[in-house]
């Protein structure tokens, strides 16, 4: 294959760093200008817990401040990233910079790992660019969650393992045991992939995987059982396409252009490589990724790698009609950029917004009580208003998750004040928090639907905050 351009490693890495910086600077600056808040609800969960740890250590009552799940008996589990954050003085700066640095490091280790297994420099370069522009990569390294840490340690593990630093590689995995135990299964999956493609060290890989899984099971049963077993909600209520494809609304999903390129990449591999059947195992990863974000994030790395095959093929191969080649390349570049910017735009205006933070800060000064809102607002309510939210994102692991979700849906859509009041009392709700997103389709699409109608017409609610499309209503019960 004739190469149209050939970059050396240093130049490639320099260009990649530049693209990385441009992508994340754009996101960071735009987010700061629009909302000046951390991206994602989960960041505030870690911030609240780290502050509680800082103030009260690991004493249970201190941790369960404003945390209905913990108050109602769910056990707190030690998380390394909360603990590390509790030690830091400038927490917000740390929460912004650490994911970025981990992203940068992960990108470099990904680049080096691919080079290590003998992939051509140009293709490694394409894979890395596709990775930077991919929505899952942008999402995980722009918010302080468990994912940037898990990705970084697993990529580091992969890099060290491929460089025959096996003992060191297993050391790199140890922190993940204290961040998210199930991620060990991912590490085992990576080992499995290494074996499938290498067909070497079978015994060693089997022992290592077993040890990893055994260790995590011991830790789980010793400290955490029976917490974190997903309830029924976790496996249902999921639409496959809108879970997998970012352009269809998935928060952590693959871009449609990456997927199409990866599919073409698979066809290219089929004609060129004997190892093609091995790649079909990726279907298994795709199915798992519907349920597990972490698998989706790693699946994205594979997708970028496969997509690079098709990009490389389209770029290097002689086409019958030259103009078609140029048009295709332009469309691919526009498509990838469109998907990436479109996702970044979603992140920039995503919750929590500055308007929501102001409203919750106002709520903080009001008497204590449980706040009702959409579960995706739970963590930010708990952090900014210093009050408990009826439901937050842990709904998928709560024993009574389904019941809470049913109650919450009835409250949202019922126009019968008796039904609504009964459920509000049952869940001790004192405040209702409504943001623009909820009124714009997340829950309602008309201004007089369900709860919105009752809030407007009934005397059982008092509007205590209404600014910039964010509303807070106080529930006036007989006690009040």
């Amino acid at each position: 294959m004739k190469k149209i351009f050939e970059l050396n490693k240093k130049a490639s890495i320099a260009i990649l760093l530049m693209i990385f910086l441009v992508t994340f600077s754009f996101l960071g600056v735009a987010r700061y200008q629009k909302n000046s808040a951390l991206i994602g609800d989960e960041s505030y969960y870690h911030l609240r817990l780290s502050e509680n740890i800082e103030k009260n250590g690991f004493e249970k009552n201190g941790l369960s401040d404003n945390d209905l799940s913990l108050i109602l008996g769910q056990k707190y589990y030690f998380n390394l990233i909360d603990f590390v954050l509790s030690l830091v003085k400038h927490k917000i700066i740390f929460m912004i910079t650490i994911p970025l640095l981990l992203g940068l490091a992960s990108l470099i280790f990904f680049y080096l790992a691919l080079s290590r297994i003998g992939i051509e420099n140009n293709q490694v370069f394409f894979s890395s660019i596709l990775l930077i522009l991919s929505p899952p990569f942008i999402y995980i390294f722009s918010s302080y969650t468990v994912y940037p840490f898990l990705v970084f340690f697993n990529i580091l593990f992969l890099f060290l393992y491929l460089n025959n630093m096996k003992k060191l590689s297993f050391l790199a995995i140890i922190p993940t045991l204290f961040i998210s135990l199930p991620s060990v299964f991912l590490t085992s999956l990576i080992l499995f992939f290494i074996y499938i493609f290498n067909k070497k060290d079978k015994r060693e890989i089997l022992i290592s995987s077993s040890l990893l899984i055994l260790t995590s099971l011991i830790i789980y049963f010793t400290f955490y059982f029976p917490n974190f077993i997903p309830n029924k909600l976790f496996f249902f209520h999921r639409n496959i396409f809108s879970r997998i494809i970012s352009d269809l609304g998935a928060s952590i999903g693959i871009s449609i252009f990456h997927l199409v390129l990866a599919f073409i990449g698979l066809l290219v591999i089929k004609t060129k490589e004997k190892r093609f059947p091995n790649y079909l195992i990726l279907l298994f990863a795709l199915i798992l990724s519907i349920f597990f974000n972490l698998i989706m994030i790693f699946f994205n790395f594979f997708v970028c790698f496969l997509a690079s095959y098709s990009l490389s093929e389209i770029y290097h191969k002689k086409w019958e009609i030259d103009v078609l080649k140029n048009i295709t390349l332009i469309l691919i570049i526009y498509g990838l950029l469109f998907s990436s910017f479109s996702f970044q735009t979603r992140l920039i205006s995503s919750s929590p917004t500055i308007e929501e933070i102001n409203a919750l800060a106002f709520l903080k000064d009001n008497p204590s009580g449980v706040v009702f809102s959409h579960f995706s607002n739970g963590y930010q309510i708990e952090y900014f208003s210093e009050k408990s939210a009826m439901i937050d994102q842990r709904i998928y692991t709560l024993n009574n998750g389904k019941e809470l979700l049913n109650d919450s849906n009835t409250i949202f859509f019922s126009r019968n004040i008796q039904t609504t009041k009964k459920l509000l009392e049952k869940n001790n709700i004192s405040y209702i928090f409504i943001n623009k997103e909820m009124k714009d389709g997340l829950i309602w699409d008309k201004r007089n639907q369900g709860l919105l109608f009752l809030l407007d017409k009934s005397t059982d609610f008092k509007n205590i905050y209404d600014k910039d499309e964010v509303e807070i209503w106080q529930v006036l019960s007989s006690k009040n």
């Binding site: 009609i321 078609l324 469309l331 699409d445 109608f453």
Partner: protein, 500 residues
């Protein structure tokens, strides 16, 4: 270029088809389908402001619209010459008649016989379902179907000579920017390539290149255009958020007899037979392009991804082309037999069969379509509405009449057949039905207030659909009859909403 006999024949066929269409269409100043009034509002808005109507104050009480505006701009070019409906009718029928030229070119290329190509061109002008759906409407299929066939023709030519790549790319661009229905062509190329590979036919690499560029262009454009709708509805955007109750109607199960009538007996039977011959016994790259496109159509119909009628329109046109190849085989065969002297007779017989099985049903269906225009009494009611009801008020009418009510009445409507960006659409449509059907004014008022409805329109279509003469709660004090003719009533809502 020298004008030859077949050019004149082709011109004659073109004029016959166009004149037949215009004769039927010019019987009325109105359109036969509600959707044409949406197109008309878009065209008038473009002519007035230069921009399409992106935020519609009237549809569903006010909402953002999402569409590809290319077709509306094209129609505006005709409308700007003369602000008369007849201009649009002429232009749309002219576009639809272009299928005759495209079919001639393809059939000529496939059969190498001008005589058969002319017959095919004539037949393509009278595909009953296509004729019915485009004769008195501003349907986008008047543009899409000829564009698809011109694209197919240039794809065939591109396989012979690379110099046609520019023609093909220009057509492909127009096709993809016109409507998402262009997926039929994009998938058609994929199926053509698969078919050729299965038959082990050496393929020009350009076909794969075209497939790649088509897929990326289609994805790119549709994701840009429909980005908000895709995020709003997720995967259900594929079915255009059509309510479940209408899905069976829009994408109804395939009924063979109905299909035969709508496509025409000859193309249906002989076209399918021709496809069978080429899949099982003979090889022809050009025919595989048509069979590939037909296969993509079957797939899309099978998964109910395109409406039944849309599928039939394309299928009808594909089968006409396939029929041309059958004719070629048939007449070649006859010439080799003792019956060769009867070939002229067979040809005439064939023309008579075309007249009976395609032309006649087309004309009948065309006239049937003309009878679907809004009733005079309903139009009078719309006129009363536009004079007496403020455009900020909402009037309830059937979802099938939403666009016409917006156009003639200039008031907010509760529902129309564009379901994109409407949340809980099933509930929405169910609520509309309940208002007309409920026996209780309390239930009706609850729904009426939910959608801010100020007036209820009951016309002949409502009466027919719900089998009623009036709403059950007509005597309730909350409803006041403000307009009344033999077939149309309009009630004003007097009571305001209170919390339960």
């Amino acid at each position: 270029m020298r004008i030859k006999g077949y050019h004149l024949w082709l011109l004659a066929i073109f004029l016959v088809v166009f004149a037949s269409r215009m004769y039927i269409s010019s019987q009325t100043d109105l359109f036969s389908d509600d959707n044409s009034y949406f197109t008309l509002r878009q065209v008038e808005h473009i002519v007035d402001t230069g921009k399409p109507l992106i935020y519609d104050d009237l549809s569903y009480g006010g909402r953002t619209l999402i569409f590809s505006p290319f077709y509306f701009y094209l129609l505006s070019a005709a409308y700007i010459i003369n602000h008369k409906i007849i201009m649009l009718k002429i232009f749309v029928n002219l576009l639809a008649t272009l299928l005759v030229l495209a079919s001639f070119l393809i059939a000529d290329e496939v059969t190498k016989s001008k005589k058969i190509a002319l017959v095919t061109a004539f037949l393509s002008g009278f595909i009953p379902v296509y004729f019915q759906e485009t004769v008195n409407s501003l349907s986008i299929y008047s543009l899409i179907v000829p564009l698809t066939f011109f694209s197919i023709y240039y794809l065939m030519m591109l396989n012979k000579d690379k110099k046609y790549s520019t023609h093909f790319l220009v057509l492909l661009t127009f096709l993809i920017i016109s409507s998402p229905t262009s997926i039929i062509f994009v998938l058609g190329i994929l199926f053509f390539i698969i078919l050729a590979k299965l038959e082990k036919i050496e393929l020009n690499k350009a076909n794969i290149e075209i497939l790649i560029v088509s897929i990326f262009f289609y994805l790119w454009l549709n994701f840009i255009l429909f980005k908000k709708a895709i995020l709003f509805h997720g995967p259900s955007i594929i079915w255009q958020n059509i309510p479940k109750i209408y899905l069976t109607q829009y994408f109804s199960e395939i009924n063979i007899l109905q299909s035969v009538y709508l496509i025409g007996v000859l193309p249906f039977v002989l076209g399918i037979y021709s496809a069978y011959i080429y899949v099982t016994r003979q090889n022809s790259l050009q025919i595989y392009i048509i069979i590939g496109a037909s296969s993509s159509l079957f797939l899309l119909l099978w998964f109910k991804l395109i409406p039944f009628k849309t599928g039939l329109i394309f299928l009808g046109a594909f089968l006409v082309i396939l029929l041309s190849q059958y004719l070629k085989l048939f007449f070649d065969y006859i010439l080799q037999t003792k019956f060769s002297k009867f070939s002229a007779f067979a040809f005439i017989l064939f023309i008579i069969m075309i007249l009976l099985s395609s032309v006649l049903p087309s004309v009948v269906l065309g006239y049937q379509k003309i009878s679907n225009i809004p009733e005079k009494e309903t139009l009078d009611a719309y006129s009363w509405i536009s004079k007496n009801i403020n455009s900020t008020n909402t009037v309830l009418a059937l979802q099938d009449e939403g666009h016409a009510l917006s156009y003639f009445g200039n008031v907010k409507t509760v529902a129309d057949d564009n379901f994109i960006f409407v949340k809980n659409i099933d509930q929405h449509i169910y609520d509309v039905d309940r208002i007309y059907l409920t026996r209780f004014s309390d239930e009706s008022l609850e729904i009426i207030h939910k959608y801010y409805i100020d007036y209820i329109l009951i016309d002949k279509k409502v009466k027919l659909k719900y089998n009623l003469t009036d709403v059950f709660y007509s005597t309730d004090e909350c409803f006041s009859l403000v307009y009344h003719t033999k077939d149309v009533k309009i009630y004003k809502i007097l009571c305001e909403e209170e919390a339960i």
